[in-house]
């Protein structure tokens, strides 16, 4: 148990899911896109990766999950309550070899995100300990963004610790994780990188296993990127479309080679719709990893109970000290 004066807090009576509907809609700063890196725009057609390219034998998928365990209100000396978010994040890696997919490592962390100056670590006994992660702003958006960023950082730490990871595919945007063997795998398309409708039409014309030519996304952390259609039933033009990105470094010919390798490798892992609500984009290894990670987050009701217990204790403690000072 932490020594010193206990942080006084209360757990919001509303279930923590309310107010989190914003999910992944993180603002994308508009970045310059160059569509002329592999072929010129008037030559844009679907590309069938060279069948001679053998799919990668070993590939590692890295993913993270997060869960808001509770929204809390931290009592401050001025009598106002400041918000905080108790969240658990987990990251893991699954290594797929022919005939064997293994979850290689898992990291689970609990953290308290708050801008309150009196916030401290929160020990909930056997259920664990929420480490304080101060945020600059107290708004909901800032808190949720902090949770997301924390998850990304845990994923990054985890992938740093992987031994001989080989090809590493991160679920989601690559961001700062720009190791030479890294790739980002974006399932849902929120940003339109291709302005020209002619180029957009190429995406719709992709057959399963085909990819678009590469384009380059500039900015602080540049990427090589392309669209790929996974095998599966086609209900609309974007069915089975994913966007893959590589660190935007080096030569375009290297990037093309890797794009072909990934485009040949990924379709094998595409899921089927009766098994996954986000089929085919939600790849089997990632789905399996996510299930395992969600399990590792721990039982939400247990954590909720532990937090409320702790909050009740802190209120009692505060009441006692208040009574003491009044008596003194």
């Amino acid at each position: 148990m932490s020594a010193g004066p206990a942080m006084r807090f209360a757990v919001d009576t509303w279930a923590p899911d309310y107010g989190t509907s914003r999910e992944e809609q993180l603002q994308e700063a508009s970045r310059p896109v160059d569509v002329e890196v592999e072929v010129l725009p008037d030559r844009w057609v679907p590309i069938t990766p060279d069948p001679a390219v053998r799919p990668a034998g070993a590939i590692t998928f890295v993913d993270g999950v997060r869960r808001i365990d509770a929204r809390i209100w931290i009592g401050e000396p001025d009598g106002f309550d400041r918000p905080g978010v108790c969240a658990t994040v987990a990251a893991g890696a699954v290594r797929c070899l022919p005939g064997r997919a293994t979850i290689e490592s898992v990291l689970v962390e609990r953290a308290l995100f708050s801008a309150s100056p009196v916030a401290t670590d929160l020990d909930v006994g056997a259920a664990g300990r929420y480490l304080l992660k101060p945020t600059p702003i107290a708004s909901d958006e800032a808190l949720y963004l902090a949770v997301h960023n924390h998850m990304m950082s845990v994923e990054e730490r985890l992938s740093d610790e992987l031994e001989e990871p080989g090809l590493v595919v991160y679920d989601g945007r690559l961001g700062p994780r720009n190791g030479p063997e890294s790739a980002g795998y974006v399932k849902s398309q929120h940003v339109q990188y291709l302005e020209s409708t002619d180029l957009q039409a190429v995406i719709g014309a992709l057959e399963p296993g085909q990819r678009t030519p590469l384009f380059h996304i500039g900015g602080e952390l540049p990427n090589w990127s392309w669209y790929l259609r996974l095998p599966g039933p086609r209900s609309h033009s974007m069915s089975g479309i994913v966007r893959v990105e590589l660190p935007g470094l080096g030569d375009v010919s290297d990037a093309v080679e890797r794009a072909d390798l990934l485009s040949r490798t990924l379709p094998r892992f595409a899921s089927e719709s009766h098994k996954d609500a986000r089929a085919p984009q939600n790849l089997y290894p990632i789905a399996g990893l996510e299930r395992e990670l969600r399990r590792r987050l721990g039982d939400a009701r247990l954590l909720d109970r532990a937090l409320r217990q702790r909050a009740a204790d802190s209120a009692g403690h505060a009441a006692v000290s208040a009574a003491r000072s009044a008596a003194g």
């Binding site: 005939g99 997919a101 293994t102 979850i103 290689e104 898992v106 399996g288 395992e292």
Partner: protein, 608 residues
Amino acid sequence: MAASNPPTAGATGRATPSGASAGRPAVGLVLGVDDATPLEFWVAVAPGQTLQLDDVVALERRLPDGATVEIYGLVTQIRARHEGAHFQSDVFLIADGTLPAQVSEAALVQPTRFEPEILLPPLPGTPVRLAEASQRDTALSFDTVERRLPAGLSRADEPVYLDLDFIDGTKGAHINISGISGVATKTSYATFLLYSMFTSGALGADAANTRALIFNVKGEDLLFLDHANRLVDDDQAARYRALGLTPGPFRDVGILAPPRKGDLNATPATGSRKTGVAPFFWTVADFCHQRLLPFLFADAEDERQQYTIVVQSVTAQLAQLEATEDGAVRFDGRLIRTFPALVDALEDRLSPTDPDEPPDPRWTGRAVGSGTVNAFIRRLASAKRHVEHLIRADIAKAQAHALDLDRHQVTVVDIHGLHDRAKRFVVGVVLRQAFEAKEASGSALPLQFVVLDELNKYAPRDSSSPIKEILLDVAERGRSLGIVLVGAQQTASEVERRVVANSAIRIVGRLDPAEARRDEYGFLPAVARQRSTILKPGSMYLAQPRLPVPLLVEFPFPSWATRPAEAVRGGGARSVDSAGATDDVDLDTVDGNGAGPPADDPFAGLTS
């Protein structure tokens, strides 16, 4: 992956275990997603470890006061599954390396013992270890058994014992064996238990005077008990020695068979065994004076049957007839030497030639109509040809052929060739003789064992008969009298409940699947019931009062011959039967097929 750390004692934050589970590596941990109860709990098997059915395990539970309860149990079921898979077809993805999943194995354990007896569930996370050697004895409560009767080997070739206290009447008595025919179970196992009883030393000094009466109801399996089995090889002999037994034949065996029909010399009617067999029958005087008539009527005690009154009256009257020295009786001035003659005389007595003259009420009972009398006569007459060779005073020294159950340690009464009616007569009469002899002796020791197969025939659930009454007497009072019934049947569901219920030891060989589902086998856990339908020859489930879980045992191949081809030439124990013949099987005249069982099935060729 992270979950694959082998469990250690420290994994649960408990102190290093001592006693029940010290020393050995844990094979797994009590798992927490299924309820752990004092009656059963699941154990997650650690990676790199295995548990199999019938393994004996040990674990501990620390009490709040610091004391420790040692919990022992038996693995009764094991399952393996993919964790992380939701669909059956996920197995293809997992095998393909597309979907991550973990194989998890879990074993269901049924506790056999709590030491001290504080019935608590084991806590999830508790390390579980294999119980071996002395720990296994503790787990199966063998350590508390003073007089151990070797009863077979476990699948791991370790001895399994029965507590003699639950056989000899001290705390319980009687053994009941169920199982279908033809998989070397019932009689083979019953004789094995007898052999163990006589030779293991469990009975101490009483062994010499202990007697066994065995009815040979089918085939001729039991007619060669006194001959060593030449098919017992070194492996089988080693199994006997592992149980503390020495393989060999029974030492002191008397074999009795009914006389051949129509043979005036009353030579015994056995097929393959020509010598060393004595005939048995009753004189007409015995039949009358010992009141054996009711045993000819399967339903003679059924109150609804009118003619039972006639049976009772006639029995009482016959008992008063004057006997001659050679076993005949005088009846209405006639000298009766044969059963047909007795039937004729009775007929004359009960149906007077003058139809207007009422029959003698002393013989028929009061107010009995002629129809009832005729029913009695009809039934009696129909028994005539089945038992006439068993009730006779037409040969010299007929009295010498009365059954003497005391002469040999083991007396085999061969009834396999008799008609069902005659079988019931012999079983009923012999059982009563044994029962009355014990009653008269006034002492439970030495014990008298009675081995009887096809109990469903002699003590059927749904009807009443003098034989059934005797069996019920044996089952209910035999414990105090020192008569131990080793009963067997294909289907316990067809046997009188009280006979089976009074058996302290229940044994089940292979069962018919429909039979295995019946309530009579409620002492078998569900998995054991399933397994009982596929038990291989020589395997049985053993349920005894000391253990809440039945044990699977395998018993060694009989070290006594079960047919002539197995008998060691001239190697049998020598004994002299009641007729004074020597006991060697006449091996030149036997009709055995000579083929030994295949090497992988020591029980091939056994028929019951």
